[in-house]
Symmetry: C2
Subunit: 254 residues, 2 copies
DNA sequence: ATTTTATTGTCTCAATTTGATACAATAATA
DNA sequence: TATTATTGTATCAAATTGAGACAATAAAAT
């Protein structure tokens, strides 16, 4: 088994019971009370999707998340986590909100996960402690992703945004907040392009906008606005053998 | 001395050395590794100001901040802190960013503060540990504030935004980020009105905008835009004995 | 009492942006 | 060669914005 400490199960496996700091068997330690969760957006088949993990034998779904190394930048920890899950570096990533309510502390839920994996759920296990979670959203090129299934048998899959299951703790709320933030920031630097391959047609970009905003946009006005932004470079035409005019491919200016 | 645990000095005083959780002599405990800092904006004399604390005998300036009780919501902790400093409840408050870089961990600075106050700065003192800080910005009615000077002799004063001294750690960066966020959000629900008394003239509101954006705005177009928002109620005229037409007073719709 | 001063509130008009539609161009197919 | 399903651009009215004109007015100056 390869070491993958982004995964909470691996982490459970390795964590020794220690008050502070939390330490795994490789001697690596993490900040207590601090966690992060990522809402990873992808775009495929005209739909917006996010990554959701399923914890085995528990029926529990959750966002991919993790913990911060004692000597690790918070943002770096999140990137490390995303790398583990998707294989991608250089992901577009933004903070979104910090969830810090007491009611999100539900040791019973964590205990269920721990037990379902045959681990000792001592009452003093540090993972049963309260955590503040820093939520991020990430925009990735769906087609480049290689989801890495986990050694401890939980899965990590794409779910259509409109078909996300009930997630543990406040994770559905986190998804909501991430989507809100994404919508608010959408026009900054044509954010949506992060969800597409290097080159894309205007129609694809429009579909990304429509998926995120959950509303139709006017085609020609959208095109006018995108071109006027000066952030798109027009490259060659894309011939797909369809019986109509071939669209241009565009790419984001570097 | 009254107990004021928003203040880091008071906290230093009361904190016993304990790994986790940190506990003061009243038996109250706080989350380790988690802190918050507030950029408190006020408006007076046509200028935007923020609250800055000065740590005595150290030459160190800092933003007001604090820690989160074990059974306390993060947002509630920040409000508690603001109440202590300003005497105000119901403050407009927003999260702004989480600062989580390793390089912000500078135990030498904290040690200096601790020593300057005649406290034991044991190497294992929990305050010398690394903290993630959740930054907030607050908008308050300057005239309503009663700054509460602290029993442990640090001060808390207003500084013009363009004359903020060098602050400890990354606090100047936090101010920058808060200002950016404020600018981005300024138009939502006439945010600026939170910096003014219940009733205000259009000119005052304009000055708030100009102070925040650091640029002049066109008077009549500004007025048109504000009135068109439908969020302002016009009340009586304000007679200040000046040799010109008296302006109307407005207030934000509730 | 009348004029002056400094500001306020409203109006106007051109410039720009936006919304909606028309229409020509064009790959591949029939 | 005509047809089909787009795509890219142009057009025009409607709405918004930028800049300035101007009348109203509260108090001071004359």
């Amino acid at each position: 088994m390869t070491f993958n400490f982004f995964n909470i199960f691996t982490f459970l496996h390795m964590a020794k019971q220690k008050d502070n700091p939390a330490e795994n068997k490789k001697g690596e330690s993490y900040l207590t009370h601090v966690a992060f969760d990522s809402v990873v957006f992808g775009f495929s088949g005209e739909k917006l999707k996010i990554l959701v993990m399923e914890y085995h034998n528990t029926g529990l779904f959750a966002l991919p998340g993790g913990f911060v190394g004692l000597k690790e930048n918070l943002n770096a920890a999140v990137r490390r986590g995303l790398k583990e899950r998707t294989g991608l570096s250089n992901i577009y990533l933004e903070q979104c909100y910090v969830f810090g309510d007491v009611k999100r502390h539900q040791p019973a839920v964590l205990r269920k996960i721990i037990k379902a994996n045959g681990l000792a759920a001592d009452d003093k296990h540090w993972l049963l402690d309260r955590f503040i979670s820093v939520a991020y959203y990430a925009l990735i090129n769906y087609s480049k992703v290689k989801l890495q299934p986990d050694t401890l048998s939980d899965s990590c899959e794409w779910y259509d945004l409109d078909a996300v299951p009930k997630l543990m703790l406040d994770h559905n709320l986190i998804v909501q907040k991430a989507l809100e933030t994404l919508r608010k920031n959408l026009d900054e630097k044509l954010l949506g392009t992060n969800l597409l391959p290097l080159q894309f047609t205007m129609k694809q970009l429009q579909q990304v906008y429509e998926a995120i905003l959950d509303e139709k946009v006017h085609r020609t006005n959208f095109q006018r606005r995108m071109l006027a932004s000066g952030l798109l470079i027009r490259t060659e035409k894309q011939f797909l053998g369809k019986a109509h005019k071939a669209p241009y491919l565009y790419q984001f200016v570097k």
